[in-house]
């Protein structure tokens, strides 16, 4: 009973050890060092980087990041659930519809983000359409706002919500919904009381796959926020490039990960089944 299971576990375990655990240990080590003047790290060891994190300035950024990530996750769920439902019921064309969801995402995230910048600009397509229809007189300032970042986050993470939802819904027994209808439930009641609980593993997986990357997002707020909507990911990335403070960046990164990990564990503990 043991042998096949251990053999199966070996490749993943090797990847985790070499490419996740060891690098993380190095980041921890960096967080305790002092910054090199032009980047990199050097001795002596210090706790200064960790102490600096307690500044309300950085806590403010964390709060903003959490709010945006939560909003993006909620929107993805609301938008993605009906779509996943539709695909799971689509019969023989299932795979096609699935690929259609993913296809935009093989054309480069950057290009799609630039497409949104193109659309959202004052001289962009959306404003042109709205003004042409007479709905507004002055172009709306949509780009470089938190709203633009939110749109970008939702757009970039939708398939990560749809795929797990589909995987869970596809398995579902259709007759349960029929039974609920027979018992007098309206369609939306059946959806809420039968569908959603059955799709719960998919909802959990999807939410995790959206919320967590959003917390660490940096390209989207960078391009659509114009360095004005600064999220935690931007702060960390900045420390490794412009601000040349690797140790502080390492400490901030580990702090963010610790917070996320705590939330994850606390949330998962309330569920019956573990996530992984």
């Amino acid at each position: 009973m043991r042998t096949i299971r251990n053999i199966f576990l070996a490749p993943s375990a090797l990847v985790m050890l070499l490419l996740v655990a060891a690098p993380m240990a190095i980041v921890l080590y960096y967080s305790l060092l002092t910054r090199g003047v032009y980047g990199g790290v050097e001795w002596p060891l210090t706790l200064e980087n960790w102490r600096r994190l307690a500044d309300p300035l950085y806590l403010h950024i964390l709060a903003r990041t959490a709010a945006l990530a939560a909003a993006a996750t909620a929107l993805c769920l609301v938008l993605g659930f009906p779509l996943a439902l539709f695909i799971s019921r689509a019969g023989p064309r299932k795979n096609l519809y699935l690929y259609l969801v993913i296809l935009p995402f093989w054309t480069s995230f950057l290009v799609r983000t630039y497409a949104w910048m193109f659309l959202l600009r004052e001289t962009g397509v959306i404003n042109a359409a709205l003004m042409g229809l007479g709905l507004i007189r002055e172009p709306l300032g949509m780009l470089y706002t938190p709203g633009a970042v939110l749109v970008g986050l939702v757009y970039g993470h939708l398939p990560f919500m749809v795929l797990p939802l589909y995987a869970a819904l596809e398995r579902m027994d259709r007759s349960l919904l029929e039974a609920a209808a027979d018992l007098g439930a309206r369609p939306w009641q059946a959806a809420l009381r039968v569908l959603v609980p059955l799709a719960a593993p998919g909802i959990r997986a999807g939410s995790v796959l959206v919320f967590i990357p959003c917390l660490g997002a940096y390209l989207t707020p960078d391009l659509l926020g114009g360095s004005k909507t600064v999220m935690a990911g931007n702060l960390i990335q900045n420390q490794f490039t412009q601000a040349r403070d690797w140790p502080f960046g390492s400490a901030a990164a580990l702090a963010l990960m610790a917070i996320i990990l705590t939330l994850l564990v606390a949330w998962v503990r309330r569920e019956k089944e573990p996530l992984l």
Binding site: F8, V111, P164, L219
Partner: protein, 252 residues
């Protein structure tokens, strides 16, 4: 209800594909700017003759396929192993991998590689990028396959073994067929993550392993260039055709 759902799905697909459609439309624009100035293929021609772009696209493809293959194989087997019996260390490591922001994955791997290479005189290159992609794709494969495994009754495998099948046979003939939708979904996800990755790749890529996102980022940073539009249109069309063909072959 059925019709509403279909209508809604159409709406979401529109939302997903509209930016692409606009990009494609403007890739045929003779002018560089948002003002339409006539139909032109010059940007597409430029994209197809750009040696750097083609090399980068080839690199992205190779890295994507390699990383997907490794991550899906390792991840599926790993998810199955964890489903049979939990492992606290593995679960902890997977959780950590999940919560790591991309920039941190990139930096940590860069530091790790530099450290290792000091002993072996190696350089950053395709191998480091593939390794990095496997590192961050693995946990997503495990997640998706695990979600699928949870819907399987463990009694089925036990029944097979009671009837005389070996462990491996039970896996291959009972569990694996059930898992295929999950494995396919996981592989798709892994390829998407790998093909599209900029942050991690830009940090661990060597001189010879420039990928498509890196080249596009560099071009796009310099402003709206219709060549970027042309490239994405070409890729989307190419992949779309590939998928349609594979679907046709599968159902044939």
């Amino acid at each position: 209800m059925r019709r509403m759902l279909a209508l809604y799905a159409a709406g979401v697909y529109l939302f997903l594909h509209l930016p692409l459609a606009i990009l494609a439309a403007f890739s045929f624009n003779a002018s560089r700017f948002t003002v339409w100035e006539g139909f032109s293929l010059k940007w597409h021609r430029a994209a197809l003759s750009d040696r750097q772009l083609i090399e980068a696209a080839a690199n992205s493809l190779v890295i994507g396929l390699a990383a997907t293959a490794i991550a899906t194989a390792a991840g599926t087997l790993g998810a199955y192993a964890l489903w049979k019996r939990r492992s606290r260390w593995m679960t902890a490591a997977l959780h950590i991998s999940l919560v790591t922001p991309e920039i941190v994955t990139g930096i940590s791997l860069l530091a790790f590689y530099q450290w290792v290479f000091r002993f072996w005189g190696l350089r950053l290159g395709m191998h480091t990028v593939i390794g990095a992609h496997v590192a961050f794709c693995l946990v997503f494969v495990v997640l998706v396959v695990m979600a699928r495994l949870r819907t399987l009754d463990p009694a089925l495998e036990e029944a097979a073994m009671d009837l005389g099948a070996s462990e491996w046979r039970a896996f291959r003939e009972v569990t694996l067929p059930w898992l295929w939708p999950g494995i396919t979904a996981a592989a798709l996800l892994a390829f998407t993550l790998s093909f599209d990755d900029y942050v991690v790749t830009s940090l661990v890529a060597g001189v010879d392993s420039e990928t498509l996102p890196m080249v596009i980022y560099a071009m796009a940073k310099r402003g709206v260039s219709p060549v970027v539009n042309a490239v994405s249109t070409l890729i989307a069309t190419g992949l779309g055709v590939l998928i349609l063909v594979s679907e046709r072959l599968r159902s044939a």
